[in-house]
Amino acid sequence: MSTKKIVVVDDEKINLKLFENFLNNRGYEVVAVDDGSQVVNTVTKEGPGAVIMDIVMPGRGGDEIAEQLKKSASTRHIPIILITADMLKPSEDLYADYFIRRPVMGDHLLKILADVFKDA
C-alpha cells in the first residue's frame, strides 16, 4: 500500500466535509462520495488504502456496497470501515474489516487508520 488515500462515503454532505477536513489535516487524502451508486466505480478507479462508509444511506446501504466490494476480486483487499448511528444494527455478518458505532471518536478512528496504513 503506497498511498494514504481514503474513500469516504456518506449521503450527508456536512459529514463528508467534516471527515474530509479532519482527515486531510492529518495527512490523509480523502475522496468524498455522497452517492451510494458511485462507490464501486470510484473505489475501482481510485484504488484507495481504505473505505469509510455509512451503513444507513438512501438506496443502497453501506453494508450492501461493502458486500459487493468484498466479493469483487479487484477490491476485496481494501479494508472497509463501516459506520452506523443505527442503534439496533448488528455488527455480526457484515462485510467489513472494522465496524464503528456513532459517535465516532476521532482518536479511535485515527488508531484504526494507523493500523490500516501501518505498511504504507
Binding site: N15, N21, M87, R101, G106
Partner: protein, 409 residues
Amino acid sequence: MNIKSHRFFCFLIPLTVLTSGLLCLLDTAKNIILVTQLALSGIVFFILFFIFLRPYKKTLRRLKLHKTNGNSVFTDIMTCCLEMNKYYGEEELERRILSEREQTQKEVSLAQDTLHSFRHRVDNSLSPILKIFYTKENDMTVIGKMSLIVEELYKSIETIVAKMKSQSELLALTFDAFDTTTLSLEQVDIIIEKAKGLSAHLQKETAKGRDALIQTRESMKTILESSEKMVNIITTIEDISEQTNILSINASIESTHTKSGGKGFAVISKEIRKLANNTKTSSLEIRRMVEDMIQKTKKQAALVEIVFNIFTQINSYIEQTNETNKNIYNISKKGVIQGREMQTAINALSAVAKVIINSSDKELFQANEVLQIMNSLKKVFDEYKTNEEFLSFLEGEPSIQYENRERRA
C-alpha cells in the same frame, strides 16, 4: 388435524351418540343397557372434549392475553397467527408462535445490549452534560435538551471555524498587502540610494566647476593687474618717445648752427625723431589693444562671477536635495523595518490561526458525531415514546412485561 376438525369430533360425535341414546330411551324406556350406553356416551364426550378442545381453548386464552395487553406488535402477531390458523394445524401454530417469540426475545435482548452499550458510551463521553440534565423521570426531555445543546455547540463551533477561516484569509490578504508595501518601500529605498549616488556625483562635478571658476577668476585678476602694469609701462614708453622726439628736434636745430659739420648730425636727429614718432605710434596702438583687453577681461570676469554664483546656487540645491533624500531614505528605512516587523507578527498570527483551525476541526467533527447519535437516539425515542415497555426498560428495570407474561404462562 386442524381446529375445525377438532370441533367436528368434539361436538358432532358426542351429539350423535346422545341423540341416538335419547331416541332409544323413547322407544324402550328404562332399558338398563341404553342408560349405560348414555352414560358411556357422556364420558366419551368429556374425554373427547378434554383431548381435542382444551389445547385450542388454551391457545385462544393465551392470544387473548396478548391482545388485552394492547401491544400493537403482539396484536399484529396474533392477527398473523389467526390468519395462519386457517392453513396450519394446532401444532404448527404453536411451533410458529414459539419461534416468533424466541426471535422477538432475541431482538429485544440485542436491543437491550445495544442500548446499554450506547448508554454506557454516552455516559462516558457526555457525562458532564448528562450529570446536569439526566433525570430518569423524563428521558425524552433530557434527550431533547441534549440534542439542542449539541446542536448549539455544533453551530457555535461551525461559526467559530467559519470566522477563523475568514480571519485567516483576511490575515493572509493583509500579509500580502504588507509584503507589497514593504517591497515598494524597498524599491523606494533603492531609488533613493541611486539618487543619492547621482546627487553626490553631481555635487562633486559642480565643486570641480566652481573650483575651475575660482581659478579663472584669480587668473583674470592677475591678467588685469598685469594689464594695468602694461599700461604704466606703455605710458613710460610714450613719455620716453616724446622726450626723444623733443630731443631730436633740439638736435636738428643745433645741427643748423654747425653748417657742413652738422649735416650728418641733422640726418641722425631726423632718424631719431622718426623712430620716436614710430615708437609713439606703436605704444599708442599697444595701449589701445591693452585697454581693449582689459575691458574684455573685465566683462569676462563679470560673467565668471555670474556663473560662479550659479554654481554656488546649484551646489546649495544639491545639498538640499541630499538632505531631503536622506530624510526619505531614513523614513523608508523605518518603513521597511516596521513592515518587516509587522510581516513577522502577521506570520505568527497566521500560524496561530492555522493551529486553531486545525485543532478545532476535530472538535467540529466530534460535535457532529455526537449530533448524529443524538438524532438517532431522538428518532428511537420518537418511535417508542408511547411504548411503556421501552420506557420501563430505559429506567433500568431488568424485566419487561413480555417476560412476565412468559412466566405466567
